[in-house]
Symmetry: C7
Subunit: 97 residues, 7 copies
């Protein structure tokens, strides 16, 4: 039976895409600064309450390909697969081909 | 007579699940980063007031299995059982089989 | 004439319960982390104004038995008795038998 | 002509009560932690605006006997008398016999 | 032609009163803690917007004699006269004879 | 197929304009302080919710030429082109000829 | 063609007035503390949204002569002229003759 992790608040569960090195050079960043990673959104939390008390939904959805920094996330291994948990405001953007 | 601790504000009382090492490798995290723990929610506080003054109930409920980081909680021993107190926004997510 | 201290804002005056060592091992925490104390609420302040300006009453009341951390409080001696002043959001929870 | 200092915002002007050493041991704190002082409120500021914009009056009034920590205040000498200026949320509580 | 500085936001322009040393001992503080100064308010800014968006006027007005701490202000020399610029919430109180 | 990065929240994707050194001396800053860069806005995020809960759109739009500091951004390489991701409140201003 | 920089948010573009040393001694500050500068406002940003969500316009306008501290600004050279970018709440006041 597969284990599923449903993130809380505005967290996002992302499965890292480990691209072949060539494309890797495309997205990843120049050595000088920290590495960037791309990954597929697996699950999202319900969101958090904004300053006016209303619920702010998470800014990405399941299936989106996103760009996220090397630091600021929590690594989680579920059923031998490696995931990352990020707060949605630490995710940099959505990648489209 | 069993002792019961009812958490205050948005705290959550969690009883740690100490899985056999094999599953442990499944949820716990790779050595490089800090350990993650899973546990069963025993009791939750009433919640805290949001920025609009309304009461925000705790994001998990009694019986949920949750994933929480190694740090940021308070260990409490009640009747020889080990529990952890976490603020709900430090709990990473809910685990489902 | 007994001296009485009425706490201000969301402070709580707690009289420490110094349990016999056996029970002490029950509530107090394992050596690794900081000690937890339990005590009886003697008096509470009027509360503080929330983000919407409304008064938020203190989360515990006179007579409650509460669990509080070793640090974060102010020790006060009144008529040879030892008390602790805590802000209510630093009190971890209410203990029930 | 006596000099008078009217505090601004939520500040409170307190004249320290220097109790004879015996009572002093009653209120003052055990050596381990910092000293507590008691004093008489001489004057209070108009208060500060809360998060909803409404004016929050100071929590104590002239004539109250209050308990305040050793640190966090400003010492002021007026006409050879020693006073302390505290923000009202740093004053711990009101003392009653 | 005299130069005039109109403070911005909740700043207050104060001209320091350099009292003869005797009175000085009256207002200024005991050596142990930092010095306090007194001065005449020369000009005040329009104020700042509170948390509800409404304009909060400065808490003192031209001509008031005020007490201010040694630190936290900006010294300004205009036409050979020495002034201090303080945010109004750093000014301790108004002095009256 | 070109890769496209759509920024999240109030982030702005900027393509650095590497001016010939002469103009470079025009915009860039004197050695003493940190370098300033100019670039063309390629894409902008949806904005962030203000303190009243309303959505605040990003302050610049695609095609604007902007001035941004050397630090505070994230470098991203997409299809061999070098971009920078900045939060819009870190972008200093819009450049017009 | 002259280059123009339109500041963003509550930033203000100021052209430094380098007064002859005599006047300089008038405005600039005594050596003990940091230097103050005066300058002419060249351009201002649209402002920022206050805590109630309403737009707060910048506190100074083009043509004003202002006093600003040595630190806290960003130096920008445009067409061989030296300017400074400051957030308007770091500008100390308006100078009038």
């Amino acid at each position: 039976m597969e284990k599923r992790l449903i993130p809380l608040f505005n967290r996002v569960l992302v499965e890292k895409i480990v691209p072949p090195s060539k494309i890797n050079a495309d997205i990843l960043l120049r050595e000088k600064s920290s590495k960037l990673n791309s990954g597929k959104v697996v699950d999202v939390g319900p969101g958090i309450h904004g300053k006016d008390g209303k619920l702010l939904h998470v800014a990405v959805k399941e299936g989106d390909t996103v760009l996220f920094p090397e630091y600021g996330g929590t690594e989680v291994k579920l059923d031998h697969k490696e995931y990352y948990l990020y707060r949605d405001d630490n995710i940099l953007g959505k990648l489209h081909d």
